[in-house]
């Protein structure tokens, strides 16, 4: 291509593609949401979750009732709002999924591979044990303040790592989380995109996961949301409870700290 010839025009032309912000994004679906009302089928899943928590399972045939979610063995109320956090028994920072996997493998004696393989509903499935447990545990923090622990050095480094992963561009499309979630008032097609680098955006997003997805008819977890964002970024499959998944959730929960939990939410 003959580079020099048009170079004088380039500066002007670059301006043509420059940005004119459009921010009428909210409101497009107001009517839809109003007609949808507040009825959230997640309630059925919450009940399942409570039942599963107290039901003996695994080779050791014990329930999860002694599982420590961070506030002491068996304390569920308020636990979700303080995750992810460092657990000294596991010697790492864990989100709810990593923690449940830990309890299922250590208390109940189950295989970690199987726990992970059956974590999220696949097409045609109507919910998994893990999804139900997370829905119930999150509901037990409803109305409470998002307050992830940041006292331990590993909790703070999980945040820093999460932040750098948030901006990590890779893959055929050069996408990162920031591609869609670093600006305020933007949308993709018609879906409003939260700015996850701000307190307001992160709190709004973090507080409403897990969520009942009306398009799928099931409750999805925040960990699943991380995996699905990676899929949409054209990345490989994110492992449930992995260091990257936990770090990204730490980044979001710390950015959203002070917000009020309202999960399970209701989403498209």
């Amino acid at each position: 291509m003959s580079k020099g010839f048009f170079s004088g025009l380039l500066a002007t032309l670059v301006g043509l593609w420059s940005f004119t912000a459009i921010s009428e994004t909210d409101g497009v679906f107001d009517e839809y949401r109003e007609l949808m009302g507040d009825d959230n089928p997640a309630i059925f899943v919450i009940y399942d979750g409570e039942e599963i928590w107290f039901t003996p399972a695994g080779p050791k045939s014990v329930s999860l009732a002694q599982c420590d979610l961070g506030l002491g063995p068996g304390v569920v109320e308020g636990a979700y709002a303080q995750l992810p956090r460092y657990f000294s028994d596991a010697q790492r920072v864990q989100d709810i999924e990593a923690r449940l996997e830990y309890c299922m493998t250590h208390l109940q004696g189950r295989s970690p591979d199987k726990v992970r393989a059956n974590a999220y509903s696949q097409r045609g499935e109507l919910g998994t044990e893990l999804e139900a447990l997370v829905a119930w545990i999150a509901d037990q923090s409803s109305g409470l303040t998002i307050a992830p622990a940041q006292a331990h050095a590993k909790e703070r480094s999980a945040y820093t790592l999460g932040e750098s992963l948030f901006y990590y561009r890779a893959g055929p499309h050069d996408f990162s989380c920031a591609t869609c979630h670093e600006q305020t008032g933007r949308r993709i097609r018609l879906q409003a995109l939260p700015n996850l680098t701000t307190h307001q955006g992160a709190a709004a997003a973090y507080s409403t996961w897990p969520a009942y997805r009306v398009s799928q008819g099931i409750v999805r977890t925040m960990g699943w949301r991380m995996r699905d964002c990676m899929r949409q970024q054209r990345m490989p499959e994110l492992i449930m409870g992995s260091e990257a998944s936990v770090a990204l959730q730490t980044y979001l929960s710390v950015n959203g700290a002070g917000g009020s939990m309202a999960a399970p939410g209701l989403k498209r």
């Binding site: 670059v14 940005f19 055929p172 990345m235 490989p236 994110l238």
Partner: protein, 198 residues
């Protein structure tokens, strides 16, 4: 002077370390799925350079190098023929499939233009991550405009080094033919992009 060099070296070294750490964590946190492998986690120079917040200060000389390199890699379309078939281009613009592990690798990739841009003004479901391109053809259909737009689609970083738009040509997301068709969708007076606003 030597101290300054050391500090610079340290900054460069530590940021490289930082990127390495992210890469290693991602490598340990992800698995291959269908046709998508962890190879994709490796960053090229441009991706590594652009993995920081918008607000971060840009190393301008390095940015200029990367822009130059991007521009050099942009080929002229066969026979300098920039414009294909706008109707096929419209389908490419609408189609959002391609390269996700849930997609069928045997199907042609889409451009997913509507995810970020307004094009046909009668289509309501358009995103706003990028500017509106409705009426793009009215900006003129001269050689400079054609070359500029072609370059933008092929490798946007030739102009805006850390733009969030994919490198549709350079990264092999769309074929040359698909890009020519998208060009026609943008420029053709008959294309709905250039229809008068309703």
């Amino acid at each position: 002077m030597q101290t300054i060099i050391r500090i610079c070296a340290f900054i460069i070294f530590s940021s490289a370390l930082h990127a390495d750490e992210s890469y290693n964590v991602l490598l340990n946190s992800m698995v291959d799925k269908n046709f998508v492998t962890v190879e994709r986690l490796k960053q090229d120079e441009l991706q590594a350079f652009c993995s920081q917040p918008r607000s971060a200060t840009v190393d301008e000389p390095r940015a200029a190098e990367l822009r130059e390199a991007a521009l050099k890699g942009v080929p002229t379309p066969p026979g300098e023929n920039y414009l294909g078939d706008w109707q096929r281009g419209e389908k490419v613009a609408i189609n959002g499939r391609g390269l996700q592990y849930s997609d069928d690798p045997d199907q042609a990739n889409g451009g997913n233009c509507y995810a970020c841009h307004q094009l046909d003004p009668t289509e309501l479901a358009y995103g706003t991550l990028g500017p509106s391109l409705s009426g793009y053809g009215a900006r003129g259909q001269n050689p400079a405009m054609l070359e500029y737009t072609w370059t933008k689609l092929w490798n946007t970083h030739a102009y805006n080094v850390c733009s969030h738009m994919p490198r549709f040509g350079a990264a092999g997301i769309l074929t040359t033919q698909q890009l020519q068709d998208v060009m026609a969708f943008l420029f053709d007076p008959e294309s709905p992009v250039n229809r008068p606003q309703p």
